[in-house]
């Protein structure tokens, strides 16, 4: 099956099995093995990417659903200005995710900050998908709140969802 999509800003036409998970597409077809994990249904939460601006677990997205969509992985996201806000938030809170979950957690933080979610229960629920226990829940809440504050100072417009 031929699928047209945009991955990390590149418009691509991929010839794939129609039900191939996006996590495997990124690992096998795009060579993004460092930032996206594929646990085969173990719900590790280490494969978060942004699909049309929203965080999603790439292992849950089949190839046919990314047709015409814009996928952003940590590989390209780490070169944007938005990642600086999250890094500053890590620094000001004094807590960093471990190297295993850094990419996935940062993508989820970005989604929460972009949506402006400041409710602590919702933040923890969203981040509960990442099974890695390296971060303190209080720190996670503070990071999102700090990120929202920094984003507001920069006057960045939120992503408009369809």
């Amino acid at each position: 099956m031929k699928i047209d999509c945009t991955i990390d800003g590149k418009t691509l036409t991929l010839s794939l099995n129609s039900d191939k998970p996006l996590s495997l597409i990124l690992r096998e077809n795009m060579g993004d093995e460092g930032y996206v994990n594929h646990c085969g249904g173990q719900m590790c939460g280490l494969c978060a990417v942004l699909v049309d601006g929203r965080a999603m677990l790439s292992c849950m997205v089949p190839a046919f659903e990314i047709r015409g969509k814009n996928v952003v992985t940590f590989e390209s996201f780490r070169r944007t200005r938005n990642v600086k806000d999250i890094e500053k938030a890590y620094e000001s809170v004094g807590a960093y995710p471990c190297p295993d979950c850094y990419a996935s957690r940062t993508m989820i933080f970005e989604s929460l900050i972009d949506e402006g979610v400041s409710d602590s229960t919702q933040i923890l629920k969203e981040l509960s998908m990442v099974r890695c226990p390296c971060m303190d829940p209080d720190d996670e809440i503070r990071i999102v709140q700090k990120g929202i504050e920094l984003r507001r100072k920069r006057n960045v417009r939120r992503t408009q969802f369809a």
Binding site: N17, S18, D19, K20, E28, G40, G41, M43, M60, F64
Partner: protein
């Protein structure tokens, strides 16, 4: 790695008419809603079926509709759980809200749909049990004499003897209607991860109206993901005969009677599921006891 081995054909009907013609052409096709359950199975990729046909329901406009009046809420089968929370948190029954919130992250609820949650193959989510406790009805679309028919049915009528939701051949749930209930006792609890440890988890949904010290129209369902839903009118009528608050001996008696029914439904309940069911049942009774002791004072 497995490219070209067995790539399923994906059909994306834009309306129910197109859906009907695809189903007529490919009677053995599988339906794809949000895909959260299918994709989380360890053997989901590569597809083992050769020449598999998948009908993706995400493009059908009718299935995304949401309608609400003062008596009920009606959801299209492709309405996501997150959309349900966003649109009706204040008015929808507590059991439904708690059930959706127990799933956790919006990374899942943004993709999981109400129709898909009810029709998982060989696995039972906590949703159908919840719907039974809420007395919900579903519109089932099915092919008969080469035409698409629809019929509103109670969820209990879709359940087979093994406690699984079974639809007619080539059938699907297109809408779910949930009545706004006046019941003052609503309770949902889930213990364990349904996806990761199906043989250890259990959920229960309970709805009833507590009037003075008796329960009116109670409904209780227990869901075991690996086995199915345990719902029996006999268990419901057990609760109607009780007068709250219950003491320890009455509770023990209730427990043993409930387990008699559960055991007659399912033989393969694990020890942990049994202990967890007992815990949930005790919690429900404790809540009812508390309510029975406080309500008269509040009213006076």
């Amino acid at each position: 790695m497995y490219e070209g081995l067995s790539s399923p054909n994906i059909h994306t009907p834009a309306n129910l008419g197109e859906y009907a013609s695809i189903v007529l052409h490919y009677p053995r096709s599988s339906l794809w809603a949000g895909g959260t359950f299918i994709m989380s199975r360890p053997d989901s990729y590569p597809s083992r079926k050769m020449n598999a046909e998948i009908i993706y329901l995400g493009e059908i406009e009718e299935l995304h509709r949401f309608q609400r009046n003062d008596r009920f809420a009606e959801f299209g089968a492709m309405v996501t759980l997150d959309e349900i929370l966003n649109t009706g948190k204040a008015v929808l029954p507590r059991v439904l809200i708690d059930g959706i919130e127990s799933i956790g992250s919006r990374l899942i609820t943004r993709r999981a749909t109400i129709g898909g949650s009810m029709c998982t193959k060989g696995f039972t989510t906590s949703f159908p049990g919840m719907m039974i406790a809420l007395d919900a009805t579903a519109e089932v679309r099915f092919i008969k004499k080469k035409r698409l028919h629809s019929k509103w049915m109670q969820i209990t009528r879709l359940m087979d003897r093994n406690g699984r939701i079974v639809l007619p051949q080539q059938g699907m749930i297109s809408r779910v209607r949930i009545a706004f209930t006046e019941k003052n006792c609503q309770y949902f609890s889930r213990i364990g991860s349904f996806m990761l440890e199906p043989e250890k988890s259990v959920s229960a949904s309970f709805t009833a109206t507590l009037d003075q010290d008796i329960l009116i129209n109670p409904k209780i369902t227990f869901t075991y993901p690996n086995l199915g839903i345990c719902y029996s009118r006999d268990i419901d009528s057990l609760f109607t005969t009780l007068r709250f608050p219950l003491d320890d001996s009455e509770l023990m008696n209730l427990e043993s009677m409930v387990f008699t029914f559960i055991d007659s439904f399912f033989q393969g309940i694990s020890e942990l599921q049994r202990i967890r069911t007992k815990g949930i049942l005790r919690e429900i009774v404790e809540n009812l006891n508390e309510k029975a002791l406080t309500i008269p004072f509040e009213e006076s």
